[in-house]
Symmetry: C2
Subunit: 224 residues, 2 copies
DNA sequence: GAACCGAATGAGCAACCCTCATTATTTCTG
DNA sequence: CAGAAATAATGAGGGTTGCTCATTCGGTTC
């Protein structure tokens, strides 16, 4: 019996898998609007009505696809980040991974925006939550270790980090120049450094002022 | 005759204005999908078929609304930027203006994304072109004047600038904390500074020069 | 094998964008 | 100014598409 119920559950899971998989393909190929429920059903080898047994409506099916995509991304990012030690390197690794994946899979990334923009739901992207948390973790650890300034505005940095990357990818795809990737990463890290480790330059200048002042005192003494 | 044709043109222009205006309101209130062409026609005091005499389809009408919004933004930004002198201040002014306007009118801003994301047109946002050019102009002028490093990667900076702001606004709206606005602006400018005025090396060299000069003075004195 | 129950089906409905034959309005002409 | 010609506007109807629901199917139990 346990075996039989399990088989039954597995059957349902398989069907759901087939549906999501077919939906993913269709949405990817044709976008949210152009992908028809009838096509998805056909591709999944299922009657149209069956879709509605597994997902409330088209949008819910769409959301399932997007959610799964973000889960994949999160897993990949976790692995990459775990491979290096210092928070600074982790940040660089996360940036590189994210940029690459967004570039490779822009279409799907785009779709995740359609989901939240398109229909006026203000419900935030819970999909992204886990992904963003990786970033937060790196920053927090960096602050704890003393690598980063304790006043670092984590939330704002997050926006800087991901916002810049999304726009950079969009620019690259538009202009067709994907070779700017290293330059973009370098700039992003330089910018975050500017916020994470501030006030290095002023201190240096200050240092020079103090030294010159000291010399001036010597001069004044000698000239006396 | 000239008068009559003018009157005719004006009449057509008026009707178009009424349509776009009604569409703007509807799209703003209900979003791209939920706003029905029938409703827009009714709101504009026009038959549904008439809409299609002025705009090819729903998307074209939508595009007209978005374009007009960006024209407004561009005009406002130009004015604000012209009011201050140094490129650095202009950048700050542009940032503040942009952030404020995106915050105030997020819904419409959102819609401009639906336009380009939603239907799989890779055609870039010509709407934004003029707006972005304001930013480019500031940077170029700054480089010419010597305020900014000549190696400044303008295109990437653009992505940093606008990407960060969009994400920041989204965060603020999500968390309901709009009081972070000054902090967000400060961080953004600090980050751009980090990229625009790198030259840590030159400063260091300068520092050494100054120290050596000071020492030389001491030496000269002692040798006297 | 009969009764039961959840899963699956697909014809049909309602909503919506868009077209086009028809009607109204303006412009032109003699 | 009358009537013809051209242009603008209309809205009923066509074609899609997302979704529902009465019906059928497949398997489990007694």
């Amino acid at each position: 019996m346990t075996v039989r119920t399990k088989t039954k559950r597995e059957k349902l899971a398989e069907r759901e898998e087939a549906i999501v998989s077919a939906a993913r393909k269709m949405f990817h190929e044709r976008g949210m609007q152009a992908a028809k429920m009838a096509d998805i059903a056909a591709a999944a080898g299922v009657a149209e009505g069956t879709l509605y047994l597994y997902f409330k409506n088209k949008e819910a099916l769409f959301a399932a696809v997007v959610t799964r995509h973000w889960e994949d991304l999160t897993e990949g990012a976790s692995r990459v980040v775990a491979e290096v030690d210092t928070p600074r390197d982790q940040l660089a690794a996360l940036a590189q991974f994210t940029l690459r994946r967004i570039l490779d899979d822009w279409k799907l990334f785009e779709l995740s925006f359609v989901l939240h923009y398109g229909s006026g739901d203000t419900s935030d992207a819970t999909d992204k939550r886990a992904y963003v948390r990786i970033f937060d973790g790196i920053i927090e650890r960096g602050i704890d270790r003393g690598d980063f300034s304790p006043e670092a505005p984590v939330r704002l940095l997050r926006d800087l980090f991901f916002g810049t990357m999304e726009y950079a990818v969009r620019s690259m795809l538009r202009s067709g120049k994907q070779d700017d990737e290293p330059a973009a990463l370098a700039m992003l890290l330089k910018a975050t450094d500017g916020v994470l480790m501030p006030t290095a330059e002023p201190q240096k200048a200050d240092l020079a002022d103090r030294l010159e002042a000291a010399v001036a005192r010597l001069e004044a003494m000698s000239n006396r």
